[in-house]
Symmetry: C2
Subunit: 248 residues, 2 copies
DNA sequence: GAGGGGTCTTGACGTGGATCAAGCGGACCA
DNA sequence: TGGTCCGCTTGATCCACGTCAAGACCCCTC
């Protein structure tokens, strides 16, 4: 007889074998573009899932680096707590995206990965990933692409912060979310923001009042409708227009 | 008799075998942390140098991606030309740094790599790098570190743009340059800016007039001395203080 | 269903940095 | 040696966004 049946069962669920080959996100995530056989080799290294409750961190700045995390479900932010206590948001992340790449360079994480809602991540032990990708050429290449795209993404944000005015930043932010939701099979035009106005502002280099005001303005202009965290995009072209025709 | 002795000689120099194992930058560049034998394996793939004249680009946005470039000498900027003709600077780069990582993800470059002075780069054919790093474990790991550090660096810039005021940005910029010069054996306190005020401003999300004004202000405060592009840092702690004690 | 805390909205006002404009100075070249 | 151009400096003014403050709304708990 098992002395702790309930606990044992929980552990069992947590450590349930996760297989990339049957994962619905495989076209977005690390297995993207791999053959069936290659994905099966990936299965050998991605063998644990971890549940994360809203408000918990997958890792924190300063934690030693051992693994990458592929988001299976849930919505996350990465952030850095500055000396003065403010929290600077460096990104928002959704299923299929890989977290933890910042840790490779120094063997320790440089930011927190914070769950904005309950979710689940696949744990990818990094040394195993390097091992397998020495054997599976396409996996190696795919991983390099993932890292490169992260660099390009960051440079896009740098551009946003360096050159855009507040309205343009918000428009770019909404359109970006919309595109990423579409890629995951959700509605492009109607979604729930998981983050607060303050977190959006932190990410975009704006104050929460400015974010709020611009949401109101977009609503008056008929570009979007806002009800708390529920957003409906009414005029995608109108938002895009703000980006295309910005002066100077 | 050679009809074109001078040209022939130039070509010869261009294609001179470059060896990482005898390169003075090996402690900063890709070979960092590799053993002598491992560096010799790297030698097999880094076999061409390319000279770049001031004003030329190593590659341009949209160019197909085939190689990475390790800077041997010279000072570079990466930039994107926006639809409206403005040039947004995304980074400044010095010897030992690797350019071109942005191209891996989409097989084509997303920015220009522009020489701010005459220089030389080592051409690293990317498919060969992947090949060799499947065999040389430490090279694989070192390359992953290089990419990861690039991600962390970009996030640092995002933070700078998202949270700092103009003076703080300039102070951070000068201190960052200073550190990177030290690592290369140059003076930490006295250096030549290779870029214009406009390029600095573009990188930092400021206008050239603002950059100029703040340089003047720093000079009045005795933090630095400025003479055109020649900068001398007089009070490192004072600059650091601006970063440590920024309110909110 | 009452109380309370966190989040959001909106208004009034202040300011850091952008914009506009003029003049300077060094590098390059004839 | 003088002219020209480009990059830099500096002043005057403007405005986008931040700051401060009040109040509304929503959700949670008891």
């Amino acid at each position: 007889m098992n002395p702790q049946p309930a606990t044992a069962k929980v552990i069992n669920i947590h450590q349930l074998k996760t297989v990339c080959s049957s994962c619905s996100l495989r076209e977005l995530c690390l297995p993207m573009g791999l053959s069936r056989e290659e994905i099966e080799q990936l299965d050998q290294l991605v063998y644990t899932r971890r549940r994360v409750k809203r408000g918990e961190n997958i890792y924190r700045a300063g934690d030693g680096f051992t693994s990458l995390y592929a988001i299976r479900s849930g919505f996350f932010k990465t952030n850095v707590i500055l000396e003065d206590g403010r929290d600077q948001v460096t990104g928002f992340h959704m299923p299929g995206e890989i977290l933890g790449l910042d840790g490779i360079g120094t063997e320790s994480h440089t930011c927190n990965a914070h769950a904005l809602e309950d979710g689940e991540v696949c744990v990818i032990p990094f040394s195993r990933l390097e091992e397998v990708s020495r054997e599976v050429r396409n996996l190696q290449h795919q991983f390099h692409k993932v890292m490169s795209r992260e660099i390009v993404r960051d440079q896009g944000v740098m551009m946003l912060l360096g050159t855009m005015r507040a309205e343009e930043r918000l428009a770019a932010f909404l359109l970006n979310l919309s595109q990423r939701f579409v890629a995951r099979g959700y509605s492009p035009s109607e979604f729930h923001l998981r983050m607060t106005r303050e977190e959006i502002g932190s990410y975009l280099g704006l104050k929460l009042e400015t974010v709020s005001r611009i949401f109101s303005k977009f609503q008056e202009q008929g570009l979007i409708s806002v009800q708390q965290k529920h957003i409906r995009i009414l005029d995608t072209d109108g938002l895009q227009h703000l980006l295309d025709h910005r002066e100077k």
